[in-house]
């Protein structure tokens, strides 16, 4: 009897031992840790660093934005002959609708000068519109028949449309040509799209089929002999914009424009924005390292930098007037309101 108890006590002790949690710094939550503390010095330094970093960036951004020369010409109203009352009917009539515009160069523009068209109140980001495309058929010539998602612009008279969908169907088709002092300014339309789009999203052996053959013709037509990878206007257009106001690259003018130059624009006004009162603008712009003209980034940087400088001052002043010694026990709650608990 006695031996059996002694024998049974041994395994029980080992069992007990095994239940003991293993010590490690991790399980005991004692891992070495850095415990940064917001001392006044740290706070003031942090705000100061923000100021020191932000103000120069802001200034640089503003300078960059100011260096950009931009000419914007709204032409949607002006390009309608004054005798036309029904603008929509006018724009929907087939045939050439030429229009001449003059642009005045106020400041020297170094090449490359980017030519953009800007649309307004055009919802390229509408869900129905965004989804209305089929990437497979754009890339792969063997998949011309895959038109799912393209409804209602999926087929024309039972034949699959390439490129299908509303985006392609509503392709922007105003045309611009420029001349300075009766000399043509060449607009280079090569390389206005993303390289990856040309090489990987739009097939070099995919040609337009049955495009704009339906009952209603939307926007521009495509040359059926040029593969999609070279239809750069289409490629640019197919990158849907985030906002209802957007610019898209039309081409590049690769000569400098001098101050005082007058640029003649021969404009083919074809695209219907009149139905929904959308504006059309022609934009010529140079770029800086930051891109086009937009003061906002610089202003925002300067504002935040200034605000943080104000905080530096505020903290310094308050700290000088009413300093709190760090770790001063008199601020402990039981010292601040004795008997309050």
């Amino acid at each position: 009897m006695a031996t059996s108890t002694a024998g049974s006590s041994d395994p029980s002790t080992t069992r007990r031992q095994s239940k003991k949690p293993k010590y490690s710094k991790f399980t005991q939550q004692e891992l070495p840790a850095c415990k940064p503390i917001l001392t006044p010095r740290a706070v003031i330094s942090a705000f100061l660093i923000v100021t020191i970093v932000f103000v120069p960036i802001g200034v640089a951004s503003l300078i960059a934005s100011h260096d950009v020369v931009e000419i914007i010409d709204r032409y949607d109203a002006e390009c309608i002959p004054s005798n036309v009352t029904d603008k929509v009917a006018y724009i929907q009539t087939p045939g050439e609708k030429p229009c001449k515009r003059e642009l005045h160069v106020e400041k020297r523009m170094k090449s490359p000068i980017y030519v953009y068209y800007q649309l307004d109140n055009f919802y390229q980001n509408h869900r129905r519109y965004v989804k209305s495309r089929n990437d497979d058929q754009l890339r792969d010539s063997g998949k011309a028949n895959s038109v799912s998602g393209c409804e209602p612009e999926d087929d024309a008279n039972g034949m699959p449309i390439v490129p299908c969908g509303l985006i392609a169907w509503s392709l922007f088709n105003d045309t611009y040509s420029f001349s300075r002092n009766s000399n043509n300014l060449t607009v280079n339309k090569k390389g206005i799209s993303w390289k990856s789009d040309r090489e990987h999203k739009f097939g070099s052996d995919v040609f337009p089929k049955n495009f704009q053959n339906g009952s209603i013709i939307g926007g521009g037509h495509l040359d059926v002999n040029i593969p999609l990878s070279e239809q750069e206007d289409l490629i640019v257009w197919m990158r849907t914009a985030a906002l209802p106001t957007f610019r898209k690259l039309y081409g590049k003018i690769e000569v400098d424009l001098e101050k005082g130059d007058v640029i003649q624009v021969n404009l083919g006004n074809n695209y219907n924005t009149y139905s929904f009162s959308g504006k059309k603008k022609l934009v010529l712009s140079t770029t800086s390292w930051l891109g086009g003209k937009n003061d906002f980034l610089g202003i925002a940087y300067l504002t935040v930098g200034g605000l943080s400088f104000f905080l530096v001052l505020a903290f310094t002043i308050i700290y000088l007037i009413k300093p709190r010694q760090l770790g001063d026990p008199s601020y402990l709650s039981w010292n601040r309101n004795p008997g309050g608990h």
Binding site: T13, R15, Q17, K20, K22, T27, Q28, E30, L31, A33, P36, I37, V50, V53, I57, S61, Y116, Q118, Y123, H126, R127, R128, Y129, V130, D135, R139, E151, P152, E153, L166, S170, W194, K195, S196, K201, R239, A242, L243, T245, F246, R247, K248, S275, F276, S285, T287, G291, G292, L297, A300, L311, F315, R324, D328, P329, L332, S333, W334, N335, H341
Partner: protein
Amino acid sequence: MTRGRIRARLRRSNLYTFGCLKPSTIEEPPHPLQGPGFTRTVHCNQPQLHEKKPLYYCKNDISTTKYNVITFFPKALFEQFRRVANIYFLLAACLSASPISPFSPLSMIAPLAFVVGLSMAKEALEDSRRFVQDVKINRRKVNRHKGDGVFGPRSWQNIMVGDVVKVNKDQFFPADLLLLSSSYEDGICYVETMNLDGETNLKVKRSLESTLTLDNDEVFKDFSGIIRCEDPNPNLYTFVGNLEYERQIYPLDPSQILLRDSKLRNTDYIYGVVIFTGHDSKVMQNSTKSPSKRSTIEKKMDYIIYTLFTVLILISVISSIGFIIKTKYQTPQWWYLRPDIIEYQYDPNKIGVAGMSHLITALILYGYLIPISLYVSIEVVKVLQATFINQDIQMYDEETGTPADARTSNLNEELGQVDTILSDKTGTLTCNQMDFLKCSIAGTAYGVRSSDVELAAAKQMASDIDDADSDLSNFPMPNTKSQVSWDNGTRSEEIELETVVTSKGDEDQKHTIKGFGFEDDRLMNCNWLKEPNADDLLMFFRILAVCHTAIPELNEETGVYTYEAESPDEGAFLVAAREFGFEFCRRTQSSIFIREKFSASGQVVEREYKLLNLLDFTSKRKRMSVIVRDEEGSTFLMCKGADSIIFDRMSKNGKMYLEATTRHLNEYGEAGLRTLALAYRQLDEQEYSAWNNEFQKAKSSVGADRDAVLERVSDMMEKELILVGATAVEDKLQKGVPQCIDKLAQAGLKIWVLTGDKMETVTRLVKQGTGKTTLAIGDGANDVGMIQAADIGVGISGVEGMQAVMASDFAIAQFRFLERLLVVHGHWCYKRIAQMICYFFYKNIAFGLTIFYFEAFTGFSGQSVYDDWYMILFNVVLTSLPVISLGVFEQDVPSEVCLQFPALYQQGPKNLFFDWYRILGWMGNGLYASLIIFFLIVTIFYDQSFRSDGQTADMAAVGTTMFTCIIWAVNCQIALTMSHFTWIQHLFVWGSITTWYVFLLLYGMMSPTYSKTAYQILVEGLGPAPIYWTATLLVTVTCNLPYFAHISFQRCFNPMDHHIIQEIKYYKKDIEDQHMWTRERSKARQDTKIGFTARVEAKIRQLKGKLQKKQSSFAISAPS
């Protein structure tokens, strides 16, 4: 074995006058058992009859699991979808297959499957733990009659109804048994029911006379009988049934029933027949399903979810109205959408249908406001927190080998918000081991040792004086001499107190006798003979040695008697009597033998006391008496009982020491000791025999009022008593309990020590009354109600009982671990969960609202600016790990500081980190971040080229930049929220940001079939554009600037306690200025009037009074 036989000869049943034991001579008619509720038939020793219907009863294996392999999937799934939020996500996932959905089906279903899967995995894990526990119990072995009088071990799960089992000493009963016989010849056995009701005193059970002969293995060869009894029911204290044995029918009552989960004590073995097995047993029937508890924070989170649902519905309605207006009045002109052939959900001609379907679209689209991952993150965090609790080596009890066990992880943060602790006393706070500490005999107080309370008081005094001393020295004293005198005064006193405190250690080593903490040379080694009232002292010792129901046991190795007593008090008295020289050495049926020592030399006289009557203790009588005749032939009634009871029964000339004794009793009470008064009365023979006749008559009477008559007759004798003195025993507090209670009190917790069976009621009243969080702690089944009713139930797992632990939410091995559980883990978990939830809402509001703003720019068409994959990854990968690391690893102050400053705990009960001010602040921060992120990016990327090569930004570029900014902003925000960075936090926070870029890179490298608009977006589009990086920097800083300014301002000018303590630790001020550190620690104590501390404080007041007298005398005497 010799000892066993000697004891077996003793008919113990004669010891009991009252209680459950009816005289066996009285024949009762069998119970008329008929009708429903009394259908159970048990064929004793014929378990094979119970293998088939109609007598098939449930097996003895128990299962406390919620699911089994088959039911797990449907049941657990159903449980998951009882959450409103999950139903919403399920609906969204179902709808995602339809064209209404703004997202792809995968992006909706994958997170839901993940969340539900994880929660179900957790359920499975918890259930499997219960399963393992069940298996362990089911595999316990018991000796069962195999047939032909042979017994062999068999596991509990295979025990059948009708089986005869033999249970040995200190084993648990495997099922509800009918007691047939025991190692005692009168069929008595002692049962410990701690598992059932938490009471540690032993209950006496007794078999029928007719089955007494079934007391060895062989006789069961031919044993058979039939039990007809009540059906299984949860009532622990009733049993109705008959035993048909040898063609006679005997009625059965609860005193023959041994309940499952109680334990055989002080009895070598018993034989019993299994009546109720497994889930039919009373204890299993009695067990209630633990109510599922939710923490205060989680309940409040529901309100936040409702608020966000409201916001969700609001913005969905707003965007639907916007959509309707746009669609009705503008879309017809948008020829590029082909409004002439359009799907119903955009059709301007069916605007009602379109509006409704858009509402659904919007509800799904803005679903990011209600984070699906919140639940899963909280679950993960809580499980990890619980793991840390389980792994805490400082809550591991070496003695019993038990670690802490967070049985549910739902309530971790609730541990940090406890306002009131309800504690069971016996077994939880105290060891239920009594130490005879002091006594008052004949008006003189004996015993110099201090109780725990007195020691604690001395300790606190010492530290208070230390403070006072140092406070004084800070003031310039005009009179140097007087300062010296003060110094002298306090110092000397300090030393005195310190000796009291430190001397304890030495004494502990000296005193090793269990149950005897008494120290006073006047009474030891027969010195009492020299005391003035030696006669009274003699009487006192004799009462101690004679007036009890205990049995002596000789330890053959040491030659010392130990005592098996019904209550530990009684044991302590007998040990005390032995140490005083009155050793109770033998009990026979009619006599008690005491070895009395009247000289230090060791001359021992054995005296016999004839036990004439024993009027035993009941909770109603609150006293017990014996009537004995000594060797000289004089008859005495010796009585011990509650002082108030004894004082009421004293004779006129017995009140000699009344005044002094009362004073001493008050002192003992104040010192936290349990007191009893001792008295006696000498009887003359005539009076006694007259009374005894009446008593015997009453004893053998039959009828309902037998007990009442007995009581009345006893009462007649227990009067005209002469007071001898009083005893004071200490119910030793468990290790560390006083310190723990003191710390908890300092943490501002209210502690109620509850006794009795009204605990559940009290708990409920408390809860309803205050609405504050209550924690109940207990160790026995009697505490189960309290544990389940309280907001948090804590079970003591160090003891053997399982009932309390099974019902509890947390199990700890010792009460003292409660301090660490609450003050460290509770405090941390509360802050972690609170901060985590706040942050979660912040990040999802910041993200979700940008989707809403974008809607306004897309004609409310339901287009998202982000790629589907960004949306999936946002909650699942890119922001989940940092928030989990916040919830698991954040520490405002390290654990030792938590323990040093229990007052920090008050941040939880005061709910400083999850009040509406803070929650709304975080939501406001989220709103601000969403506005900054969206509008800054939209304005920066407005219409101009975003690169030097003239490209303008499309939706993918804007969306990706915006998303980059969100990832930066929310991850920097969490870095600002954290105050504790281990490598894990660094890895997760900065790793999340890195992951985003890595993902973007890899996603962009995939074929455009999968990556779509994100193809090569980082490498070709955004990466080379400086504006992408400058915008990220701007937005990230701008988003976090107000929060940073806010916390800096708050810290500088309105710091919270943990801020100050962080700073003290940071600058190592605690080491430089240890004095300040100790002072602040002691000041952090809350004013409390709770239990132990209150008693300590009363004691301190008393001591201080004395001290002041001393000091003033010093002050006067020093200058002279």
